[in-house]
């Protein structure tokens, strides 16, 4: 035979089972299938043998034949379900034999026992990660038919809801299920007498509501036995309920809250969901529960500072999270418990040896999962409140943990660690103290050298904060030759990376010395600079203007930059002032002009450019005060008395009618503008 690795006697028995499926006597075929069923239960080797020997197509054939007795068809479905319980390879083989359409077809049969057997097998196939979920949606009649089968029995309810919750992976899937009445059909199952049904129905709602406003908005108004769905979820979160149920119910409410269907100050969020999720983070919970609990909690409070404040004082959460880093260490007991729990989910304990082999990976994976979840939650906790950030950084070895997290092998952990660092880097105090003490810039720089985009975005964003002028890390970062790296970021396809790159350069150029500024200009290159000034992303444009403005500060720098790049800069400024841009962009541009007007030699670039002068005049009379102010500032710099040639400039500008405008502006209602105009007028009087 083809399978040389199988001992001959094993193949012989297996072959015998397969042969019996071809018996002309239907009664003998039935007996053969039943015997096969008994032979494969819990026997992975036997399952593999039978698949290799071609049992699957024959079973499928018998299952689909109209002439087969309903008993035979049901037994075939049971055997197939049993084969699916084996290894992932088994599932692959079954899917390759087109088992899914065959079983879905079988659901049209009126016989409930057969339907249940088919659903059970489909369930097992669909919950496997190797099965493409799309197969559930290829035939548009399948979902409505499954919905209609929900009323048939507790088993159909359990299997169908389990299939739905595993196969709902995208917004499109959510919409398909929603449009076919998933909510109305599944809601009553939440009060089913069967725990399994309640649990699977609950899981369905958690995947349906995730980031889905339509579903969430519908859910809040659903009544189950005259009780609001949110209250049903609250009951399911009660502390004497099974942990899995509490956690999943908390997820449902979290997703509904994030989708805007429940207010963040609603008591079911503040007093129930949040405390429940905090409890899930406790040491008493299983590793998976702690991971999911922390991730869900991080997601729940991400946008709401009040929830962050409440969570930060609930049950010592900040300290509790520190335990997430103490794994693995004498925790094998926990893993054992977890493994036992896995078995209870499986009907046949056939995966035992495969799992035992992977125990080590399993533990390692959990260690990663725990760490990244903790980092995520810290990031969320510290995203707004300075006191919470302080509390986090004061947690034992926190900064060391972040630093080592930044260089972990797992991308997930690195990303979460840098997110956490980013969140904490919003604190001026932390930048000045713990960030500098732990030299976080070093691993951060290393991370920037070679990382996936999502990590780069976070890392570069953090770097922006580290480059703020009051940050003691700014100097060492500069010395480490970061400019080239940042310049390369500005050439990225990702707008977020371009923004962060130019933003970092902008921060770096703030009050920098001539040498640094020169280096930035050199490294970036004028061509790239002007390309960024026409970037489609307005954030990039703003930060580039910011960079220009920072480069053009203090008189000697202004003159130097303008002498070498004056022409291009004036061109770019003209273009922006003429273009369709936001007020902020135009204001920033006028500020650049004002800086140029402050230079000694640079002034002439404006004075000799009538077009620009006309534009300044236009903005002095603009309806927006900010723009008026910036333009007036520019004129004020040009006519400043103590400088060489101020008389000529004053005369020229008077001729152009600026004095009249200034005069008018002294009557302006805005006090700042009024003051600015008066100061400018005084230059003429002196």
């Amino acid at each position: 035979t083809k399978c040389v690795h199988l001992p001959p006697e094993v193949t012989a028995t297996s072959r015998h089972y397969v042969d019996r499926l071809f018996d002309p006597d239907p009664q003998k075929v039935l007996q053969g299938v039943i015997d096969m069923k008994n032979a494969v239960i819990g026997n992975n080797k036997q399952k593999a043998n039978l698949i290799v020997l071609g049992a699957v197509p024959r079973l499928l054939y018998l299952l689909q034949q109209g002439s087969s007795s309903s008993e035979l068809r049901a037994e075939c479905a049971v055997v197939l379900g049993s084969l699916a319980m084996g290894t992932e390879n088994n599932i692959k083989s079954l899917v390759d034999c087109h088992i899914i359409p065959a079983l879905l077809q079988g659901l049209l049969c009126p016989d409930l026992i057969f339907i249940e057997a088919c659903l059970r097998c489909l369930r097992t196939v669909f919950i496997s990660p190797v099965t493409p979920v799309q197969l559930l949606y290829t035939d548009p009649t399948v979902i409505p038919h499954l919905m209609s089968l929900l009323s048939r029995s507790q088993r159909t309810q359990e299997y169908i809801t389990q299939i739905f919750s595993h196969c709902c992976k995208t917004p499109e899937h959510q919409t398909v299920l929603f449009n076919h009445g998933a909510i109305q059909n599944i809601a009553p199952l939440l009060i089913s007498p069967s725990y399994k049904v309640r649990m699977q129905a609950l899981k369905c709602f958690s995947v349906l509501a995730y980031e889905n406003t339509q579903v969430s908005m519908t859910l809040v108004n659903v009544l189950v036995d005259e009780e609001l769905l949110s209250q049903v979820f609250v009951r399911m979160m009660q502390r004497d309920q099974p942990i899995d149920m509490q956690l999943t119910a908390a997820k449902c409410l979290t997703y509904m809250c994030r989708a805007g269907a429940i207010r963040t100050d609603d008591s079911c969020i503040v007093l129930k969901t949040l405390p429940c999720l905090v409890r899930m983070c406790s040491k008493e919970r299983l590793l998976e529960e702690r991971v999911e609990g922390a991730e869900t909690l991080a997601y729940l409070m991400e946008p709401d500072v009040e929830l962050q404040r409440i969570a930060s004082v609930t049950d010592h959460l900040v300290a509790m999270l520190a335990d997430y880093f103490k794994y693995p260490s004498s925790v094998s007991a926990i893993t054992d418990i977890k493994r036992v729990r896995h078995w209870t989910l499986l009907i046949e304990p056939s995966q035992q040896h495969t799992t035992l082999h992977t125990t080590l990976d399993h533990d390692l994976k959990h260690a990663h999962e725990l760490r990244q979840a903790a980092f995520k939650l810290y990031a969320s906790l510290g995203s707004n409140d300075e006191d919470i950030r302080k509390k986090i950084t004061e947690t034992e070895n926190m900064m060391d943990r972040i630093v080592s997290g930044l260089s972990e092998s797992s991308v997930k952990v690195r990303l979460a660690a840098v997110r956490c660092l980013h969140s904490l880097s919003r604190s001026v105090q932390q930048l000045r103290t713990s960030f500098h003490d732990h030299a976080v810039w070093k691993p951060l720089m290393k991370l920037l050298q070679n990382a996936p985009d999502e990590v780069l975005v976070m890392a570069s964003s953090t770097l922006c904060n580290l480059l703020l002028e009051f940050s003691p890390s700014k100097e060492p970062i500069l010395e480490s030759g970061v400019i080239e790296l940042l310049c390369s970021l500005t050439q990225s396809d990702s707008p977020a990376l371009r923004v962060n790159g130019i933003w970092a350069l902008m921060n770096m150029a703030f009050q920098a010395d001539q040498k640094v500024k020169g280096e930035i200009v050199r490294a970036l290159g004028t061509e790239q600079l002007f390309r960024l000034l026409s970037d489609p992303d307005s954030n990039v444009l703003m930060k580039t203007l910011g960079l220009l403005r920072n480069l053009l500060s203090t008189r000697p720098h202004i003159d130097q930059v303008m002498s070498s790049h004056g022409k291009q800069i004036m061109q770019a400024v003209t273009l922006i002032l003429e273009g369709e841009h936001s007020i902020e962009v135009k204001e920033q541009t006028l500020c650049i002009l004002a800086n140029i007007a402050d230079g000694n030699t640079a002034k002439e670039l404006i004075m000799t450019n009538d077009d620009i002068l006309q534009k300044i005049k236009y903005y002095m009379a603009h309806s927006n005060v900010k723009l008026q102010l910036a333009a007036t500032f520019c004129i004020s710099n040009l006519i400043w008395n103590e400088e060489d040639g101020s008389q000529e400039r004053q005369d020229k500008l008077r001729e152009l009618g600026f004095v009249d405008i200034l005069h008018k502006l002294t009557q302006a209602s805005d006090p700042n503008l009024c003051d600015r105009a008066k100061t400018a007028m005084q230059q003429y009087l002196a």
């Binding site: 004497d240 409440i310 609930t314 049950d315 959460l317």
Partner: protein
Amino acid sequence: MDAMAELGAGSLLLGDPAFNYQEAELNERLKRLYPAVNEDETPLPRSWSPKDKYSYIGLSQNNLRVHYKGHGKNHKDAASVRATHPIPAACGIYYFEVKIVSKGLDFLSSLLPLSPIPGWDKHSYGYHGDDGHSFCSSGTGQPYGPTFTTGDVIGCCVNLINNTCFYTKNGISLGVAFTDLPPNLYPTVGLQTPGEIVDANFGQQPFVFDIEDYMSEWRAKIHGMIARFPIGERLGEWQAVLQNMVSTYLVHHGYCATATAFARATETLIQEDQTSIKNRQRIQKLVLAGRVGEAIEATQQLYPGLLEHNPNLLFMLKCRQFVEMVNGTDSEVRCFSIRSPKSQDSYPGSPSLSPRHGATNPNLHSAGADSPTCSNGVTPPNKNKSHNKYPGVSSASSSSSSSPSSVNYSESNSTDSTKSQPHSGTSNQEETSDSEMEIEAEHYTNGVAENPSARIMNGTYKHQEILQAQDISLEDSCASRQLCGGNQAATERMIQFGRELQGLNEQLCREYGKNVTHKKMLQDAFSLLAYSDPWNCPVGQQLDPMQRENICSALNSAILESQNLPKQPPLMLALGQATECVQLMARVRSGSCSFARVDNFLH
């Protein structure tokens, strides 16, 4: 001055109906929160103690509001007050809340679960509002939680199972503050600056924090611990013990057929022989049916010498017999009964009824003496519960079994007279008593399919339902209750019996000296005659068929004892012991007793 005002306010409010209503509501809420607490032994805190407080502390609003009236210049001016009682261990989990009504200038407020009067600082535990620190035994503060201020509700939960404590702020748990807490903690508040006011909630209002949810977690934990209690290798042993418990229980109460079936199914042996069980059962049924005279007769005949050796028991039985005569249920008055021609009519049919019940239709539960038997089997501990269900039953048993009873009586008499051997007499009784054993037959059918421990409970439950059903149908018959069934001859017999009873009492007094209990019993029984409607008189309680149960089990125990058998079934002993143990746990301050109550496991 303040102290007087407080007292005045307190006494004024005592008569206030609104206050009483609140008080009742509080009692109810506390009972629900702490069902295991026996307030006679360990009262729950309900207010601040006007006695155990510093002079700088003022109390108002039923001693629930605390305000500061000192100088508040420095830490020495801090003052505190504690609750009236320490937290009983039987609470399992205790919780109270304090609302900060007004915060002083230099705010320092603490919650000290404990502070004995001397030395407020030693062994005290607190959470301070100004810095959010926790203080333990007057040590230095540890960073613990957030600060708190006006409008905040601060709660304190003492877990007496693991001896920890946590605080809450506005319904949010702040996490464990202290571990290894000592016993006998008092809820306490401390204030330090003028203007500070706090209101306590010891259960008067619903709490902001969901304490019941927290309790439910611990209840589930403790129940899980009990359910998963490791028995290891002793599994077989346990099974034998359990089977023995069930079997002895059935035997004790005379559920003969059930006991036999159970023994057969579990392959165990019954200590007592069948005849003895059935005899006891028969006697019990007679007592419960109110036919005490016959019961005495049967006892004397089957267990000669028993009552002679237990004169107190005999006296109790006779007293009861008198009461039943008043009731019109005892056969000595019943035989005079011309109460309704119907019963006369049915008289000839009755003998043929009996075998039909017993032999061919074991599941039929027509009204009969079986119902009280069954309730007897299980109800002794909660006899007051089904109180109002009984009057109907009594008449049910009396009316329907009236005719056969006299037949039985005469039959057993006649057998006795024809055959001098007591054995043949009992065997005959066996037959007749079978007619009254539908209950047992039913237990048999019920029992075999179900698990042993649940069976007894199932049995009771079912029968209560049946009893209720009978209530309705029998109402008309009990509407016209009359003394001794309304028969003149019967009344005369009753009076005569009363005299005999009086004589017996005097005789006993002579022999054994005065007996207060007997005297009281006799007085109560005779008092019945003083009222035109004995059933609705101050001593009418005696006529309640429920009252038969005590005497019935006393007689049963006496018989068993005379046979050298335990007078109490081991199941009841075990139950009693478990109940005692849980109470003992409360006394030795093991908080888990709160969630390990025996009632939780009886359905």
